[in-house]
């Protein structure tokens, strides 16, 4: 029989501390869908996704009720679409719309994989594909796009970086009536992972099997509560407490992942150990850092706190799951975290500090709104900086940035729901255009030569 403490702790975590399974994401290979024409391929893509994921909403609903733990998002990721439509890249948008229609039919919130992998070079068909992104993101609701522009093994493709600055600007322009919302569905990666369940950066890698279930857990509120309970602990004890908490959270994720895979007739892929915040109070990574002893996130000491948190989460999580993958770390999306929003509004949290934080945590500059007149080259330079951090440190980094049309520092954008709201953050005004326009490849670092 279970003891009261354990049972009531679990119920408290769920009811008061926002413990939930953040996403159950089904990865689906689209490679068998390639046909002679774009039209036939689009039809097959739609049918395949609808068939494979037809029960995802039903099954996750059942699991959620049986185990008494909320499963917030049901999602699908697919093979990078640029590969599927290589023979007819001019018509990539057709595939994008078919995927969006499938997502809508399934009742899932996002579908990821309108993606391209350009970390070493960019073929003509890939360039055509990239140029379709702004219009496709403007004309679809649930489709997410990501582009990998660098890796520790191959270096950084600066031609792709330069082009992505323009694509992001164009996407913002194409969705100007919604404050550039399209950019919230577009991520630029270095060292993208093939089994990430989180959006907007999820895609189903070509090294994956046919149909896979990847699960992302959450629980910043649970970690914050655990830290609150030991206000005078030293940092070793704090790290230990975070580890123990991460273990419990991850075990819940592992259980749901295995059961979901079984019921959906898919392979169990990975559990992603990320601490993913939401705009709700008490579900914030920033508030964990503040609970650790910072007056406001973004001040001196933030990077150290985040490094410790991120590492402790991984140590606890790794033991709890038989397969760990995805991005696994603490997310710091500004608009999706109430503590980050408030710190940015106060001016304590700035872009430069966020960049430093990304060197020690899971992803990168995420959901950051900048002035609408920020140039494409400046955005490319921001991407290059992030990619460099990822490349040199052998970690995934990403940029999801919104140059909100017509907005200036002091304004804010509001996307609602999980995507939250973001104050417009200032960028440096000095130009990096000459550097960006040089193009070419930043060679892979010396430590990539491990063979």
């Amino acid at each position: 029989m279970f003891n009261y403490k354990d049972v009531l702790e679990t119920i408290d975590m769920i009811e008061r501390e926002h413990l939930d399974i953040r996403t159950v994401t089904m990865g689906i290979s689209l490679l068998p869908c390639i046909r002679a024409t774009a039209e036939e391929t689009a039809r097959c893509v739609y049918d395949t996704v609808c068939k494979k994921a037809e029960n995802i909403v039903k099954v996750t609903g059942e699991l959620s009720r049986e185990y008494g733990i909320p499963i917030v998002n049901k999602r699908v990721s697919v093979t990078p679409v640029s590969l599927i439509c290589a023979p007819f890249a001019d018509k990539s948008a057709l595939i994008g719309r078919a995927l969006d229609d499938a997502a809508s039919e399934l009742g899932i919130d996002f579908l990821g994989g309108y993606s391209a992998l350009l970390h070493k070079g960019m073929a003509d068909y890939e360039q055509k594909f990239l140029l379709s992104i702004p219009e496709v993101l403007a004309s679809t609701d649930r489709l997410c796009s990501s582009v990998n522009v660098g890796s520790s093994k191959s270096g950084i493709n600066m031609d792709a970086v330069a082009l992505m600055g323009r694509i992001i600007k164009d996407t913002a322009k194409a969705t100007a009536d919604r404050d550039g919302f399209g950019c919230a569905k577009l991520v630029v990666f270095c060292n993208a992972v093939e089994d990430n369940p989180f959006m907007a950066g999820a895609f189903h890698g070509v090294g994956e099997s046919d149909t896979v279930i990847n699960v992302g857990v959450s629980g910043p509120g649970v970690v914050q509560h655990a830290i609150e309970a030991i206000p005078d602990a030293d940092l070793s004890d704090l790290a230990e407490m975070i580890k123990r908490t991460a273990f419990k959270i991850t075990r819940a994720g592992q259980l749901i992942a295995k059961e979901a895979a079984k019921r959906l007739n898919a392979q169990f892929g990975i559990v992603d150990l990320s601490l993913a915040p939401t705009p709700a109070r008490g579900d914030s990574v920033a508030q964990i850092l503040e609970e650790m002893g910072l007056e406001c996130v973004g001040t001196h000491g933030t990077t150290a706190c985040l490094a410790m948190l991120n590492d402790a989460v991984k140590k606890g999580g790794v033991m709890a799951s038989s397969r760990v993958g995805g991005l696994s770390g603490a997310f710091i999306p500004v608009s999706e975290d109430i503590g980050m929003i408030e710190a940015a509004e106060k001016g304590v949290l700035c872009l430069d500090k966020l960049e430093a934080m990304t060197a020690v945590c899971s992803v990168g500059l995420d959901m950051i709104a900048v002035p609408g007149d920020t140039s494409a080259d400046t955005i490319s330079a921001i991407i290059a900086d992030e990619a460099a951090i990822g490349m040199i440190n052998n970690k995934t980094t990403a940029v999801r940035i919104i140059p909100a049309p017509g907005k200036r520092v002091g304004d804010q954008v509001n996307f609602g729901g999980l995507l939250g709201r973001a104050p417009i953050m200032p960028v440096h005004e000095s130009s990096a255009s000459k550097f960006i326009r040089r193009g070419g490849l930043i060679p892979a670092p010396i430590h990539s030569n491990k063979n």
Binding site: M1, F2, Y4, D6, V7, L8, E9, T10, I11, G61, E62, R65, E66, Y67, G68, I69, K248, R251, A252, Q254, L255
Partner: protein, 89 residues
């Protein structure tokens, strides 16, 4: 498959009776039961076997929650594995 029923709320007479009758009517067998008062709050944990019931666990959980609201208690019914996973190595 076994499930854990948790009943928490302000203490009053007849809670165990109401909950166990409710479960019996739905052919849910109680395997183990443990109850205490913590800071004036009633807390009960039951280990049950719902296999004799016609209801799916998810539906049973929903009904119990509604019944709990009627008697002013918070009632959860969850697959036991969520607790096994989180609290046992």
């Amino acid at each position: 498959m076994r499930a854990v029923v948790t009943v928490v709320g302000k203490d009053k007479t007849g809670i165990i009776s109401k909950v166990s009758t409710f479960l019996a009517e739905r052919k849910v067998n109680i395997l183990d039961i443990s109850q205490t008062i913590m800071d004036e709050y009633f807390a009960m944990i039951m280990l049950v076997d719902p296999s004799g019931s016609d209801m799916e666990l998810a539906a049973l959980a929903e009904e119990c929650q509604k019944m709990g609201q009627k008697i002013g208690m918070s009632i959860h019914v969850q697959h036991e594995d969520i607790f096994n996973a989180m609290h046992n190595i």
